[in-house]
Symmetry: C2
């Protein structure tokens, strides 16, 4: 008899998987995924970078390499974090991972015994919840307002909760809420974290996709005690197809993460690391990101404006300054899981909100993605959704 | 204070890491790693495949995809397993992983509670030991002879040991021993496994690299109860740089592995999967493997013959029919960890054997790799090593 490990009891297929599977049907207008716009991928430049790598160092690119990742790429990432996020660091403090999801899994492995506590914004990224669940923690949701985590609430939880091993936050254009923490909130958060000295994952996949307001420095740039593990990725500024992301962390954490990497995967693809490194050397990624931003800005505004025109007054939604998502709260009597099924009948898809709360509840919320639709489909999809919501009310 | 999880106590840096780091120095002749010969990588063909993918479906290749992997690649792998290994299966039973190491990590997660028992050949692949250690099992080493695991010994262990959750074996050109299980041994093993119904990982990275004797069917081809998880990889027949491998398993296991994949990494690189898939469509991988085999045969014979000429009589070593490694047993008074330091002084490197025994001991063995050296360096390295061994005796 095959017996699975106890941790598998907590790892169940979500309804979201079913929704995402259906959304590949072209007649369905999907606001469900978190896909970047493929028409913006710099396909020709990536081809050029790939062919340059193969011409200069094909056999190196196709061979095994180091667990930490391709050194030059780690240097480029360190430089870029200083320039874009105010983080003073170097290549030695950068670990390449095969997507940020892998970094989340590694951090679950690094920090969590069964029953340990993870703190998260409420709501938070459902992929992070899934990754940590494999390590059987208890989740405590930290109350949030329009400016992100409420520092006083965090302080109270840390003062009264045993075995808090990890805090997970997304201060920029949060997934799913689209909210961004203002500067003062970041400072106040760091003060609480420094008081209790708990490690924090600052997940920043979307930070560069700001299309309104001023860039804000990363929490990591204010980290005087080595508590912040800063996560970012090439998936949203370049393409997800490489599965390339990174963690920037202090030396003690880096050493452990390298052990975990070696045991779990040996290393990330040398080829992919060298191609992205070459792309960064040959092309201007800042210019590329500058081309993405106005497209996402336009799509976001089009979605929000169409929602303002068509959604009933009882529907509240966020108006993000960047990133990929807006978050909708409906009256509590509406169950968005049931609504999602009705929406699919009308050929429009979204992700019900409950999955973004590790402890469940909140069945009246939903997440919408605007980055991956044409204008026409955006407008049509919001109209369809408005109709479904109105009928449900 | 940052506190790591308990499992990290068992995950320590090995001496092997230090040895492998030194071996990048070009003056050191390294038999330490397990690298395929890069001069055999089909660089031009891979370039052609990549450029074809980018021309036909660049944006698809650079976008997110399915957790299970690129469907056409899974079909190609299923076809190939039937043709090469006698395994009747289909795409639905193939999961793409980012290297077999990732598959090992996933199986640790799937099967192992702390304190559960994993059975392995004695010795066994040290990367598998590392991967499973993260899940805090107890290891029981199953006695082996020149034909692999001894079925009677396995039966006795299974009859008397609680909580055996997983058996890990490499029947073809085992790492580190270079040994291969004959046909009868495979049948006897399956009989014992079927009696106790314990899941088995059959790890077969080297099976196609047979340069002597007849191909033998995989254990998976005799699996009537869905107990075998068959692992193989493109790392040795094509290149390791893609980090592409696969698991073939029954439906119940596949479903759980897909949940684990989603939570741990979302998916393997779409780009890499599509490029390898295109390579398989455009080029004849069997022809390519047929070109690798004689090179490895030559290098193996050159190493073994040079060892026969130069090694002292007390040194026993295996004469493999394929794969990448030979295994040396020295008199028990020789400590190969100390020997490795002396060898590095003479600019030759190997991996001490103790790391291949999950419960330690066996400090008198060592592993040699022959796939990644030129003739001249092979001969010179073995001469140096012979001298170091003689001095130690």
């Amino acid at each position: 008899m095959i017996k699975f490990a106890d941790r598998m009891d907590g790892m169940q297929a979500s309804d979201i998987g079913d929704i995402l599977k259906v959304t590949v049907r072209p007649e369905i207008i999907s606001f469900a995924g978190g896909l970047p716009a493929p028409e913006l991928f710099p396909v020709e430049d990536i081809k050029t970078a790939f062919n340059a790598v193969m011409a200069e160092a094909g056999t190196t690119a196709l061979q095994y390499g180091q667990a930490e990742g391709w050194y030059h790429l780690r240097e480029q990432i360190a430089d870029r974090m200083e320039k874009r996020n105010g983080i003073k660091t170097d290549a030695e403090h950068v670990l390449i991972t095969a997507g940020s999801q892998q970094g989340l899994d590694f951090c679950g492995k690094l920090f969590l015994n069964p029953g340990d506590v993870v703190l998260m914004e409420s709501p938070s990224y459902l992929g992070a919840i899934d990754a940590f669940k494999a390590y059987q923690p208890n989740f405590v949701e930290v109350p949030t307002d329009d400016d992100g985590i409420i520092p006083e609430a965090l302080d109270k939880i840390l003062a009264t909760t045993e075995n808090v091993k990890l805090i997970y936050v997304i201060p920029d254009f949060q997934n799913p809420s689209g909210r961004t923490w203002p500067m003062q909130r970041r400072r106040d958060f760091m003060e609480v974290v420094n008081k209790y000295e708990v490690p924090v994952i600052e997940d920043n996949p979307y930070g560069e996709l700001r299309f309104k307001g001023e860039f804000l420095p990363a929490l990591k740039s204010m980290d005087t005690k080595g508590l912040i593990l800063y996560f970012s990725t090439f998936s949203k500024i370049l393409t997800p197809g490489f599965r390339l992301a990174w963690i920037c962390a202090n030396e003690a954490i880096m050493k452990k993460l390298v052990l975990i990497t070696t045991a779990a995967v040996l290393q990330t693809s040398t080829l992919n690391m060298m191609v992205v490194s070459k792309y960064l050397d040959m092309f201007d990624v800042d210019k590329h990101v500058a081309e993405i931003r106005p497209v996402y800005k336009h799509r976001c505004e089009l979605m929000i404006n169409t929602m303002k025109e068509t959604f009933p007054e009882e529907a509240k939604f966020t108006d993000p300054d960047g990133g990929l998502f807006t978050w909708v709260e409906l009256p509590e009597r509406i169950n968005t899981k049931e609504l999602a099924i009705k929406a699919l009948d009308q050929l429009v898809a979204f992700v019900p909100g409950a999955g973004f709360f590790p402890n469940g509840g909140n069945t009246h919320c939903l997440r919408l993605n605007y980055s991956n639709s044409t204008d026409e489909r955006l407008v049509e999809g919001v109209h369809r959704l408005a109709k479904v919501i109105k009928e449900a009310l």
